[in-house]
Amino acid sequence: MVEKSETTISRWKPIIEDWKHTFYLWKRTKLAMIGTFIVIGFIVMAVFAPLLAPYDPIKTNLPERLKAPSKQHLFGTDQFGRDIFSRVIYGARIEVWIIFLVTVISGVIGVAVGVTAGYFGGVIDEILMRITDIFLAFPRLILAMALSAMLGRGLTNAILAISLVEWTVIARLARAEAMKVKSQPYIEAIKAVGASNFRVLIFHVLPMCLSPVLVQLTLRMGTIILTAAGLGFLGLGAQPPTPEWGAIVSDGRSYLVQQWWISTFPGLFIAVVVLGFNLLGDGIRDILDPRLRR
């Protein structure tokens, strides 16, 4: 077929072509574009929450309790008269914070374990991978729940618990990458020059493993929000009055039939933001898919 001719062509074109191509693919996948805008909107919401929110998200205002959505309160108010709209907007900050910390913590643990296992192989690999398997033997949410029950309730502990669940995925990926890099001839060459294992690991293997790991971490951001919101919904996550989205949905549960707005709006935001991350992730996957890069 024809595809081979393009490979010849791309050889002469500069690397900019590749970026242009990426941008083209991104533009072509409308869904990825929508996703990007949602995610940007989400981050903007978190950063500018104090400017965007009309009310204090925490201060109670009892005379205004359980008001239906109106011009004053776009999404209505809860049983303490707190403005749901403001709480949802401030909630974005909590979610961003969760995503950020979980990504960093699970990324670091996962890469450390995965790269070590992949690079050294043998017994070290065997032990580390069995430990990973132990964590993978649980359904994720159940492990996260058990861990956060163990650590005690609260946002920080929930973040730790989610990270302790998330790292396994990263570890497996990092291991596979490290094994791939390790078998490259230039690593042998560097070793032959007399570089220590540690040096090779840190300066040569690790950097090569990072980009797929980063991509994977991005792809998982939607899942992280869902897990965090699930914990919050069960009361194992952020503590009141923290406006974590899952916790707000849970708050509204006993008012669902009469005051539907308390649960509905924060849930909608979870859905939309996760959708944004997933669309973006899908786009990234497509863009990086070598089969589509032609």
């Binding site: 398997d133 132990i134 650590l151 699930g230 859905a271």
Partner: protein
Amino acid sequence: MKLGSFIIRRLFLMLLVLFGVSVLVFVIAKVIPADPVGAILGGNAPIDLVEDMKRRLGLDKPLMNQFIDYMSGILRGDLGTSLKSNRPVAKDIANFFPATLELSICATFLSVVIGIFLGILSAVYRNKFIDHFARVFSILGVSMPVFWTGLLLLLLFYFRLGWLPGTGRLGLFVTPPTRYTGLYLLDSLLSLNFEAFKDALAHLVLPSIVLGYSAAASIARITRSSMLDVLRQDFIRTAKAKGIGKRLVIYRHALRNALIPVVTIIGLTFGGLLEGAVLTETIFGWPGLGRYIVNSLLLLDYPAIMGGTLFVAVIYSLVNLIVDIIYAALDPRMRI
């Protein structure tokens, strides 16, 4: 023969991992900040009574001894006694698991049918309307928090429209069928209790949809990409060149190959349903294992937490093992 040794190796690894799992579960239970005895005795009990109770439960023994007790208990099938229900955890699990199993089976069935169907359509009509629709459907499915969709569906179909029953497995005044398997659908058919069958089915609709939707979404996604992968293969071109018609090309030549990774996902999904069941069961008041685990976690009923999570981990690992075996059996290439 090769398949046999493969299974044995996997089984051995699974046992190793399960040992690690029970250690982890034990550690989690021991680090839990709750005072299990206080849980049994309630808020009014004075501290002396609490201390006495601890001695009687052997909770003052060194951790190592407690661990040995716990492990030997597991081997005997004794998961301890729940602090909250005051009954053997194993009995509780036996009681609640069928509900979860029934829900999971229904949800899996729903998700497999919808997921594979949409996945195929979407791959075959790539970039057509149906594909876009299926992709949006899928991405929505994995994006929506189940606890939220569950609440909204309950609000709409139960509270507002009254079309479907609300929480639980059976209506308040429907006599539960005689217990053979614990699966109400099956039991009610076996005992010719059609009223119960109808009612149990009606109760299954919403939770199965909620639970099955996200699973259907991921199955559709995998089916699509697997199908696209396969459709790109040389042997598909061969099949087309044979002139056997589009339907056979897709359903005989492509699907069989495409389903191999899908089987893995279905297995994982089934395992994942146990996870989704935690939230779904909480919302739909479903008396299953998920809610049991949530409740025991919320009450910090540590023997129940240990037993419940351990059981789930075993099931999950078993499902994974079975998936691997099916995978090996389905793909002749794996058998070398």
